[in-house]
Structures are given as C-alpha cells and as structure tokens.
C-alpha cells in the first residue's frame, strides 16, 4: 500500500516504495490470517479454534462481534451530536468516526463469516426461513441495515473526491434521515446484543446477568464509541497531520468535549450497574471470588476512567483523557469477554473449558489490521480528515 497524492485537498506526503515497516508487518499478519481461514474452511472450526460444546462462542464472537459493534458506536454518537443536536464543533471528527464505524461493522461481518458453521447461509433468515423470536434475528437485520446506512454516510466523501457534484448533493440531502435511521438501528441492535444473553440466567453469572442487560449494553456502547473516537484520533491525527486543517488547540478542545460526554456516560453506566445489584439483591455475591473479579471490572474499567475523564476535562490534561479512553476501550472488551466466555458457564458442570487458540487470536489481529490498513488507504485518498474545499460547511 503506497501513499499517493490526492488531486484535491491539502497535499499529502508521498512516500515511495511498498516495503515500509508498516506494510511488511501488516502484510505478514494478513497473509497469516488468510492461511488460518483457509485451514478453518478446509478442516473445520475444531482445527483452528478451541471452541467446544460447552463454550460455543469464543474470541471471534466475544471480540469481533460483541466488542466490535460496541467500539464502532462512535459513528452514530458523533453524527447524532453534530447533525441532530447541532453540536457543530465536533464536525471535524464525524467523518473519521463514521469511517471507523463502517470498517468496524465490516469487521463484525467478517468475524461472523469466519465463525458461522455455514456462512453462505447468512441471508437465510431473510430469504428462506425467518426466526423473528430470536434476538439474533433482530441483531442481524439491524447490522445489515446499519452497515448499509454507514456505507451511504461515507459516500459524500467519495463523491467529493470523484467530483460527482449531483450525487454528492443528493446524499447530502439524506444526512438527517440517515442519522435518525442510524440512531434507531444502533439503539436497537446495541441493546439486543445484550438481550441475547437474557436466555441464559443459569449459565451467566448473576453479577453479570440482569433483566436490564440490554440497557447495560447500550449505555456502555455509547461510552465505548466516545472513547474509541478519542483513541482513533490519537493515531489518525498523528498519521494524517499533514491533512488535518484544525489547529492542535481546536482538536484538544474537541477531545475535552468528548471526555466530558464519556465521563457522564460512564457515570450513568456505573449507576445502572449498581441499580442492577440492588434490584436483584446481589450484594452478598460481591464477597465471593467472582465478586472480586466483578469489582475489578466495574471499579477499574468503569469508575476509574469515568473519574479520569472528568479530571482530564477539568484540568485540561489531554494525556489523562487519552489514558481514560484506552482504559474504557479495554473495559468494554473485558466486559464482553466476561459475558461471552469468562463469567459464562461460571458453574460449569462439565470438564470443558475455553481459552482462545493462537489461531483465533491471529485471525482477530488480522481483522483489526485489515481495518487499519483500509482506513489508511481510504483516508489517503478521499477527504476524511479534512473538508473538501468545494464543500466547506455543507452537510
């Protein structure tokens, strides 16, 4: 992947040659991933994963699907803020957040294709035999629709780059409708991902299980999305500094705004977690080993970043804000892992256990690498990090 100069917009730095360290490392990861997927589709899931009958869902569901969807929430959060609630000051980060969202959901679908026993039957729920009683039916319908929405939301930048003014104008006129639709779909499937676990009150540890788990998933996804916009900006603003038009000061102001929002969201999330404990009267469970582990998650990865975001905002410390964002992202992953395969089967009556195999980890890393490479490739060409000069200040 070489960087090329774009015709319009600020000049890009042109590096020559394919053999940059970034390209070599990501190439190795991607080729390795492709080989492992080849093994998976010729010798089966048993040859590549440590999945078993007691732990049918592992890293590919726990990370690629459960965490991936939550971390891609930045797209709907920022676009709603800017286009629906009129917070125009966040506009410089919307496009990058939407692109991250689109690639995130693409990663979700890729992960699913690797994990499904018969992935070519992916359209079956819609064309062959619908199971609308399944939370997963709703999730797949929403993810399919939302991936389409995110795709259309990314096209204005593509049309600007291609100079297709009439197309650009048309998709621009859809902005509000798409943002509303995206927010509806996101509310639904982010929460329904949590609802998928409501069927397992005996298998998921009671500290993680709650009748309100859909709300837990939705609120934590908003926090994850905000944190992910900060984390993504940390890298992209350095990597694309030659494209970025806003000043460092402006960029920091945006980050402080996001930090404030993330802090409030995490405070809400922490509160509903406490409410869940009180509703089910589960305080006594905190005294167990599982309780200690639960407190490690909720205090260390929810309350701590909540306070750190607030302090970073108040003291105007960008370093604190970024640390809090990284901790929040890690916390979401920890939570989704706990629910999918760690606190799941907590009273396991069988002898089976699950730790991801190196091949599962490699494939997951390869998917992330794919998303990063795709982001770089796209942002090097189309106006993501800056506004196209012809379309400044337009929806």
């Amino acid at each position: 992947m070489t960087d090329v100069t774009v015709d319009a917009g600020p000049p890009t730095v042109t590096k020559t040659g394919l053999m940059t360290p970034f390209n070599i490392i990501s190439g190795i990861i991607l080729i390795g991933g492709a080989i492992i997927l080849g093994i998976r589709f010729t010798q089966g899931l048993a040859a590549t994963t440590n999945l078993n009958n007691t732990y049918p869902w592992g890293l590919w569901i726990g990370f690629d699907v459960m965490s991936g969807v939550a971390l891609a929430a930045g797209g709907f959060v920022t676009s709603s803020a800017v286009y629906l609630f009129g917070m125009k000051e966040y506009k410089p980060v919307v496009r990058a957040a939407l692109l991250t969202g689109f690639l995130g959901y693409l990663l979700v679908v890729l992960g699913l294709l690797a994990d499904l026993g018969r992935p070519w039957r992916l359209p079956y729920p819609f064309i062959r035999s619908a199971g609308p009683t399944s939370p997963l039916f709703e999730v797949s319908l929403c993810v399919a629709l939302y991936l389409t929405v995110l795709f259309i939301e990314t096209t204005p930048a593509v049309f600007e780059w291609l100079g297709l003014k009439r197309f650009r104008k048309f998709v621009g006129s859809l902005t509000i409708a798409l943002t509303v639709f995206g927010l509806i779909l996101s509310t639904m499937h982010q929460s329904t991902l949590g609802a998928m676990f409501m069927v397992a009150p005996t298998r998921l540890h009671p500290l993680w299980y709650s009748p309100h788990i859909p709300v837990h998933f939705f609120v934590s996804a908003v926090a994850a999305g905000l944190a992910m916009v900060i984390v993504e900006g940390m890298f992209s603003h350095r990597a694309f500094h030659h494209q970025v038009e806003i000043t460092e000061d402006q960029f920091h102001r945006i980050n402080f705004g996001l930090a404030k929002a993330a802090s409030v969201t995490l405070a809400v999330y922490f509160s509903i977690k406490v409410v869940a404990l009180a509703l089910e009267d589960e305080w006594h469970l905190l005294a167990s080993g599982w309780g200690a582990y639960y407190l490690f998650e909720v205090l260390g990865f929810v309350l701590l970043p909540c306070l750190l975001f607030a302090a970073g905002y108040r003291e105007r410390r960008i370093g604190w804000v970024r640390t809090a964002a990284v901790v929040t992202v890690a916390g979401i992953m920890l939570n989704r892992f706990n629910i999918t395969f760690i606190a799941f089967n907590w009273n396991n009556p069988t002898t089976e256990s699950y730790v991801p195999s190196w091949m599962e980890i490699w494939v997951t890393v390869a998917f992330i690498t794919f998303a990063v490479v795709a982001f770089r490739w796209i942002a090097n060409r189309i106006p993501i990090m800056y506004e196209h000069p012809d379309w400044k200040g337009v929806h």
Binding site: R40, T42, Q43, G44, L45, A46, A47, T49, N52, N53, T54, P56, W57, S80, Y83, L84, F85, G86, L116, G117, R118, P119, R121, L122, Y124, P125, R128, S129, A130, G131, P132, T133, S134, P135, L136, F137, E138, V180, L183, I184, T187, M188, S191, T192, A195, M196, M198, V199, A200, P201, T202, R203, Y209, P211, H212, P214, P349, T350, T351, E352
Partner: protein, 345 residues
C-alpha cells in the same frame, strides 16, 4: 441455585413472542399439545449399565459404544453429551451403606417451550405436537446460539466438519415414535428405569411411585414445571442438586425471559423518529431564534445609529443655518453701517 427473574417489561410481551405457545394479548394459556409423549427416568432403578448409550449409538448410526471394553472407569469423570454420544450416563454419588451408587442419564430434555427454538434465527428447531423437538439441518447457519442457550448443556456441534456441520442432540427417536416403536434407550433399558409414554400419564406414574415409596423418592418430579416443563422427566432418591441438575428453578419458560426485551423494539422504531426529529427541530429553532434575535438587535442598533446621525446632521444643519443667518445679519448690518457712514461723509 434459585432462579427467579423478571423479564424486561414483564413476561407478557415476551410470552407473546415465544414459539406460538402463548397467545398475545389474551389471558388464555396454552398447556401444550394433548397426548404428547415424554420419557421418565427413574434414577433409583438405574444401575449404570449404559445399555441406553449403546442402543442410542446404534439407532442413530453413531460410533458404537463398547460398554464391556470401557469398563467402569468411564464413571471416574463427569461426561457431557457430545456430537457422537447423544446420551451419556454419569455416576453422581458413590455407593453408601444404605444405597447403591446413583446414576443419571443426560440427553436433550425436549422442553415444552424449547429456548433453542426461540433463539434460532432461521427457525431450525421445531416442537412437534408429538413431543420431540426436531432439528432441520437444511436451514441451520451454524451460529450455535442454541448450544449457548440450552440450560441443560444438552446440545453439541460438529466442530470438525468444515462445510456441513450440524447440531447434534437426542431426537427422542422421533422417526421410531411415529412408527409406533419405542425410543432406542427405553427399549434397551434392562432395569425399567426409562419409561416412555404420554407425558400426562408419566406424571401420574411418577406420582404413584413417589406415593407408594415415600422413603425411596424425593417428592418432586424434575421437568414437570422447570422452565415451563420438559418431555424428559426425572425422579430421584437424592437431591437433584447432587445429580447435576439445578434445583429450585423458575417455572417461567426461558423463551419468555429471553424475548421479554424484544417487546421494546417496536417502541424504539415508532417513538424515535418523532422524538429525534423533534430534537432536531429544537436545535434548528434555537438557531433560528438566535439568528432572529441577532438580526433584530443589529436592526435596532442600525436604526439607533441612523437616528443619532440624523439628529447630529439636523443639529449641524441648524447650526450652519444659524451661522449663515448670523453672518448675513452681520454683513447686512455692516453694509448698512458703511452706507450710513458713507452718506454722512
């Protein structure tokens, strides 16, 4: 462990969504298809001979089980069902002075309201009127949500099949039942520990045994009501907790709990567009009001400035006029004086 959970917005909405067993918006309750079959496992009669395992493998054409060869070491570990053994017998309690070892047979329980069927997004599971829950591999996507959802850990998956993996579980020998035969395990059991029959009658049989031998049985039929009841039921002389079954589970069917949240989804779809467009309208209106106020203030300021300028101008003009008049007067006076002085001279 006790499991009593309220659904997201009450069970009613969820029950309405469960697999066609409850009717939406009514107070009616569907008790299940009358005359449906079930099996009763009497653990007090089971001696752990594993004839059922061998028969199961045979009728389902799975790798054969050689009971003699494997011996009793099999019972040293607690096994679960797998994709090649659809039923397994475990020893849960060692022999004591007053009773022999206690064994229990594990397999799909064929729930009255199966959550595997509810959570399947392609409807690959079906609760038949005869009782068995059947699986349609021709629809299955292989997401394994059913394997994850089953509270009895009864479902297994062919992980080693790369292209056509299936979910594997006890079928209650549906085909044999339809032919009027007994399920393989029930036919093979030499101890009469497995009884096949209509579920309602089996409950009577179990009650009768418990009534006749109160010293031999615990007064509970596992599967009569647990999570809405199951087709396979168990009676035992020891607590069910000791036999690897969760005790004190709610009678609420899992599908009702699992789908209670889905009732909220239509509300999101219907409430959000209006609510969000309202919020958008507020933010736009706020902007408009701010703009109007700004324009008004500017207009006022301009008017004020113009008014001031006009006043200044008028004052200046008047002053100029007065100055002019004064100058004219002075000039006239001067001319007159000069004329008078000239006349006098």
């Amino acid at each position: 462990m006790t499991t009593t959970r309220r659904g997201f917005v009450g069970g009613a909405i969820g029950a309405a969504l469960s697999v066609g067993t409850a009717e939406a918006g009514t107070t009616k309750h569907f008790e299940g298809h009358p005359g449906r079959y079930g099996l009763l496992h009497d653990t007090t009669l089971c001696v752990g001979c594993r004839s059922c395992e061998a028969a199961c493998a045979e009728v389902n054409e799975l790798p054969p089980v050689d009971v003699q060869l494997e011996g009793s070491q099999v019972f040293d570990t607690t096994r679960r069902t797998t994709e090649t053994s659809l039923t397994v017998v475990n020893r849960y309690l060692e022999a004591s002075d007053d009773r022999p070892p206690v064994y229990r047979k594990l397999q799909c329980m064929h729930c009255n309201e199966p959550c595997c069927a509810t959570v399947c997004l392609v409807h690959a599971f079906e609760k038949t009127p005869e009782g068995p829950v059947v699986y349609h591999p021709e629809l299955c996507m292989g997401c394994r949500y059913c394997v994850m959802a089953c509270p009895y850990y009864a479902l297994a998956y062919e992980y080693d099949d790369p292209l056509t993996p299936k979910v594997m579980r006890c079928t209650m020998c549906y085909d044999r039942i339809k032919e009027g035969k007994l399920p393989g395990c029930a036919e093979a059991c030499p101890m009469g520990a497995i009884t096949f029959g209509e579920r309602d009658e089996l409950i009577q049989v179990a009650r009768e045994r418990i009534r006749k031998h109160p010293d031999r049985y615990i007064n509970h039929i596992f599967g009569e009501h647990e999570f809405g009841g199951t087709s396979w039921m168990v009676i035992a002389g020891e607590s069910f907790g000791d036999l690897g079954l969760d005790e004190g589970m709610t009678t609420e069917p899992l599908p009702a709990i699992a789908t209670s949240y889905l009732g909220v989804v239509p509300l999101v779809v219907t409430i959000y567009p209006g609510l969000l467009m309202g919020m958008y309208a507020f933010s736009q209106r706020q902007k408009q009001v701010a703009k109007d106020e700004r324009e008004e203030a500017v207009a006022k300021a301009v008017a004020q400035t113009e008014e001031d300028a006009r006043k200044k101008l008028t004052a200046a003009a008047e002053r100029a006029k007065k100055d002019k008049e004064r100058a004219v007067d002075a000039a006239v006076k001067k001319a007159l004086t000069e004329a008078r002085e000239g006349g006098e001279a």
